[in-house]
Amino acid sequence: MRKLASTADWMDLYQQAQNKLAHQRTLPTVYIGMGTCGIAAGAGEIEAIARQELRRHNLQANLIPVGCIGMCFKEPLMDIQLPGWPRVTYANVKPEAVPEIIQNHLLGGKIIEKRALGQLTEPGQQKNKTIPLPEYTELPFYQKQTRIALRNCGLINPEDIESYIAQDGYQALVKVLTSMTPEEVIEEVKNSGLRGRGGAGFQTGIKWEFCQRSPKTPKFVICNADEGDPGAFMDRSILEGDPHSVIEGMLIAAYAIGANYGYIYCRAEYPLAIKRLQIALDQARRYGLLGENILGTDFSFDLELYEGAGAFVCGEETALIASIEGRRGEPRPRPPFPAISGLWKQPSNVNNVKSYALTPQIILHGAEWFSKVGTPRSPGTAIFALTGQVRHTGLIEVPMGITLREIIYEIGGGIPKKKQFKAVQTGGPLGGCLPESALDTPVDFDSLVQAGATMGSGGMIVVDQDTCMVEFAKYFLTFATAESCGKCIPCRMGGQRMLEILSRIALGQGTLTDLDEIEYIARNMREASLCALGQLTPGPVMAALRFFRAEYESHILDKFCPAGVCQGMFRYEINTLNCAGCGLCIKPCPQQAIDGKKKEPHTIDQIRCIRCGVCYEVCNLNAIEIQPAHKQTAASEAG
């Protein structure tokens, strides 16, 4: 294919992509979810077997690897689509089930109902009446979702630019280049109210305007794909599932601010995202969608992929810029903001992956369409990686304003194993946790901050009764402290001191004045740290102290960890009323500390027991209870 030199060339390519899709639809198709998560669950083997089966049956069929559709809890996923029929998804596919699915469904046209999860009917396809499979939009996991940035993830082949073009990909770029001035593009993004999805929530259009008005040239466009929060994988899924949407968003931003060169800064821990981005960049370059005189206009832009080297702080924009410049990833004070003086001291625009991925849709459908989704002050959708103690873990995109309860209980399906919800952490290690009483908080930038957490980049970790809030805060603090770059003292020292105090509390050596000390350090870190890493490091501890103070006091006063996590601060006891003497706990105990006859309540030898918790996990009858290690009362200890 030659480079596109005009909009007429573009129309040809668009037609060609549509034809290719139409032809593809005349053959049966197998889709396999091949994101990092799918591959970890065994999609590689599934694909190999499916390929082998297609060959064995000598079948004319497409085998298309797709990105992540978001249902991590159902991986590996395999979809079958027969010409003219809806696409049917099979979940938790085991290698031995693949030949059966291909034989019955692909060859025989019979859906294997017990293995099928749902179907996706597109306009013009026949409804399948014989087997009442739920539509994707009716599944609890998808019902409340609105997929804008994730619209293609899991549905198209991320390694084929024509798959993207067939779904109106690069249409927004064509619209911008042929009918809009840079000012009009900025106006449109401003009117949409889009706020940066990296976490801070700054108005994207205003950021672009600052950069556009900056007189110096050259200017740079940078995509922050250094997603470092533990438990977050939104950006990775977009880059793996729909990399062209990010490239298109960056092209539009570059046109708006007047940049001719850009960087995607992606963490090295995402090899698949890097591979697919590289393929996407090469394809876009081959068609002339990147390069000199794009579509015959005088707009030129090219992009370079830059691999991070493992530093959480490089998600901060000035540290990220330092890293591209080949220095230690240490932030610097702002102002000047990157829009005035960024990469190589030139005006630079840094946005998150999700912000760029949303941009083409805003341009294509208009600001008004976008601002109708979500809330007035936080328009559009929010993307979360829902993880932890929740039934349906995965990647979701929801309209802003949805409540935490809807996300956790309706989309997430609630807490597994009949356990109790305890807290939800949003905003990753720099966010905060919210308790049950805050579950009706609407999810948007301002409400979450008001409630005591932050929106962050999109990690959402749900924890149940078995999580100790001292240990939980300590975990995030350990992470943030280890990732402090060490440049400014409040962050470097404050995090360390706070971690020492928390470790003391977790060992049962804390005092009540320690809690005041934490608050004192937190205030100083917030006020005096150079960048968001230091300013927000106290967040998880402060939120935990605000909502779970009693648990901290229990550690300090009663030397009791009610969740049964902190070593030496609890013991396991068998509740003789609940114990049926089933013997399930005897064998797994690594210490042979449990004794008892069948059908009679068992006992735990407290001297041999090492509190590993294996018995607590295996017991189905709630017969293993967590009790204070020493039978002391709060009064005797405090007195």
Partner: protein, 155 residues
């Protein structure tokens, strides 16, 4: 850091590919590491001489980012859990057996660079104690004799 000899010819070829551009520090170090498996001091010196980037800047960057290693690793990474459950189930005996049989100190690398061993604390699989993870594969309920045999079989 001990000075080791390493073949610098490949590095020169590598640096040629960056010529003409403003030398990008991190990509150069990443490519150098994939060449040698770590960043040998001699290579860092050679990069500094060739590119004019101060050795102090190279060291600063190499020590800042988690990805970079300044010592050579073994081909196989053995991580043995010595958390409480594994400890009481015999992790110390396993560690000792591996140290003796394969000549790899805990937290170090064997002289033939075949193995590196790390001690970790609780991998969350106490029911399979004692456990170890070798090159991302989990080995449960290990005992000194069979575990050492399994490790010896690795290429």
């Amino acid at each position: 850091m001990s000075e080791e000899t390493c073949d610098l010819r490949e590095l020169e070829v590598l640096l040629e590919t960056f010529q003409g551009k403003k030398y990008p520090v991190i990509p150069i170090l990443q490519k150098t590491q994939s060449l040698y498996g770590y960043l040998p001091q001699a290579a860092l010196r050679a990069i500094s001489e060739k590119t004019g980037i101060a050795l102090s800047q190279l060291m600063g960057v190499a020590t800042f980012y988690a990805q970079f290693r300044l010592t050579r690793q073994g081909r196989h990474l053995i991580r043995i859990c010595d958390g409480t459950a594994c400890h009481v189930r015999g992790a110390p005996q396993n560690i000792e057996a591996v140290e003796d049989a394969l000549n790899v100190p805990a937290g170090g690398t064997s002289p033939d660079y075949k193995y590196s061993m790390e001690i970790v604390y609780c991998l969350g699989s106490c029911g399979l104690a004692p456990i170890a993870v070798v090159n991302d594969q989990v080995y449960g309920k290990i005992d000194p004799k069979t575990f050492v045999e399994q490790l010896k079989k690795l290429e």
